[in-house]
């Protein structure tokens, strides 16, 4: 099977989720990766380690802005050039819309939020997360070609040690493909990005105010984790919206999610329930989070978190 994987970069470095997509693609067939904008050359070559045989790189700097329509044209043209039967992408803030547009351009079916390696033993079947993490659906995708997007942690990245030839790739864009103009970008630099993080430390109203987030940040730094928060905390502007985890916020599926002072409302759990291991720290023994957690600590965050930081530092 010929597989095209769209890979995304952040600050010139390819995202871990894209390596997951390349790994998934390599288990399905021969992978060509397509990348865009300014990316370190070493990063493009590194795709070979995860199974990509070839990398198409569109260096057009206009693609640095992640414009949905232009990105979709790039991916669709690459898929046509390679005769790709499966176009694979890791789900992100850009990819949902791009995948949809690519499917229309190629006139093929599309399925998103795929949570494990597709089953190709008879046709092409995928397992999708549905009902905001409360259930899964088995979906058959008819025909010879399709577009799918992968949920984070659907397939663990795996180095297989190959090399990839990097080729320049050009697409004839029209002005309409760049009809959406980016005028500014506001991004926290240097922090671990929440959607990409393997470890997440999250806190809620139990912290009593934004001035108390220092210990949460210290816990996150000690672990090498990203920080997150509950919806009320984001609504009160204690923390930025891009840290809000839950049904209407970001959905995360890290290896470890530590929830401090969050009661565990069903809307919050919907955003974190696919985490591999959950730790709940709450002074209320009846907090619903304890029913969803693997490990629980009943105690005051202001007492427990410093002790946890101390214990982590002592164990390093």
């Amino acid at each position: 099977m010929s597989v095209l994987v769209f890979v995304e970069a952040d600050n010139g470095a390819i995202k871990k989720s894209s390596f997951e997509a390349v790994t998934c693609g390599a288990k399905l067939g021969d992978v060509t990766a397509v990348a865009m904008g300014d990316i370190n050359a070493g990063e493009l070559e590194a795709l070979g380690k995860y199974g990509a045989k070839k990398v198409l790189h569109a260096a057009d700097s206009r693609l640095n802005d992640g414009v949905i329509a232009a990105t979709a044209l790039l991916v669709a043209e690459a898929a046509k050039k390679e005769g790709a039967q499966t176009v694979l992408m890791a789900r992100s803030s850009l990819v949902d819309a791009v995948a949809a547009r690519v499917a229309v351009k190629l006139n093929v079916p599309v399925a998103s939020n795929v949570v494990e390696l597709p089953d190709t033993s008879a046709g092409f079947k995928v397992k999708r997360g549905v009902f905001t993490g409360k259930a899964f659906a088995e979906v058959s995708i008819p025909g010879d070609s399709r577009v799918i997007t992968l949920a984070k942690n659907a397939v663990a990245p795996e180095e297989v040690g190959g090399t990839a030839a990097v080729e320049a790739f050009e697409v004839n864009f029209s002005d309409a493909d760049f009809g959406v103009k980016r005028t500014s970008v506001h991004k926290q630099e240097g922090d671990i990005l929440l959607p990409e993080a393997d470890l997440v430390v999250s806190a809620g109203r139990g912290l009593k105010g934004p001035e108390n987030w220092g210990m949460i940040e210290e816990l996150a730094k000690t672990l090498g984790a990203a920080t997150a928060c509950s919806k009320p905390v984001s609504d009160m502007d204690w923390r930025p919206h891009h840290e809000h985890v839950g049904q209407t916020g970001i959905k995360v599926s890290p290896n470890l999610y530590i929830a401090v002072g969050i009661s565990g409302a069903i809307q919050h759990l919907a955003g974190v329930s696919s985490s591999r291991v959950i730790v709940a720290i709450n002074k209320d023994p009846e907090a619903p989070f304890f029913k969803a957690a693997d490990y629980g600590v009943v105690g005051d965050a202001f007492d427990v978190v410093p002790k946890l930081i101390e214990a982590l530092k002592a164990s390093n």
Binding site: I68, A69, R91, S93, L94, D96, A97, V98, A100, A103, K105, P109, V110, S112, N113, K125, G129, V130, F131, T132, A135, A137, E138, V139, I141, P142, G179, V180, K181, R182, T183, S184, V185, H186, K187, P195, D235, H241, H242, G249, L256, Q267, S273, S274, V277, V279, K291, A292, D294, Y295, G296, V297, V298, D300, D303, V304, K307, E310, A311, L312
Partner: protein
Amino acid sequence: MKILVCISHVPDTTTKIKFTADNKLDTAGVQFIIGPYDDYALARAVEIAGETSGTVTVLNVGGADTEPTIRKALAIGADDAIRVDAEPVDAMFVAKQIVEVAKQENYDMILMGRESSDYNGGLVHGLVAEMLGMPSIAPCMKLDLNGNTATLSREIEGGKEELEVQLPFVAGCQEPIAEWKIPNMRGIMSARKKPLKVVPAVDTENVTSYDAFSLPPAKGDCKMVEPDNMTELVRLLKEEAKVI
């Protein structure tokens, strides 16, 4: 300003999801609501229509059972509604139905949620935009108008970006684009009289098929650790869970 808002009809967020023996969602006792992200799109559309003396048409693809949800959207402030009379099959099916309706009028904006909270595909806005040859923005968390130019912000990993686009366009919305609106009694009464047109679905191809549903495996008991023994929690995370 003519705005089309596409809404989904989904189980309330607190619903415990179950499936019937014949592999369908068990709707017994389930309350259905406007998709939470769609609710944000609708709220902003109603505000913009108010600012521009515009109109909001709400569109749902669904059976007659979705009409209470559509009436709620009318009570919130939409002017009229269209129901495409069909059970949604998948994102491509829904998008084709929306496109067919959208082609009948020149909408300045087509707004919807970034994804539905039942099938969580996040695809419909992109599918509709591509089929109509329009630009699209998602996830859109701010939307303002200045004549024929819209300024928007889009959530990106670790932040946001500000964007400009000319009308018409499609946006998949999320908070904090607007505060959810709760219908008042006047809105509920007036919604009963607002037009709700039912149109047949168009034939489509390329559908995927949902063969089976399943629930995640049951969670084991939460292992409690004493608050004075964080060394033990660190040990468990290292040696038992192997996550740090």
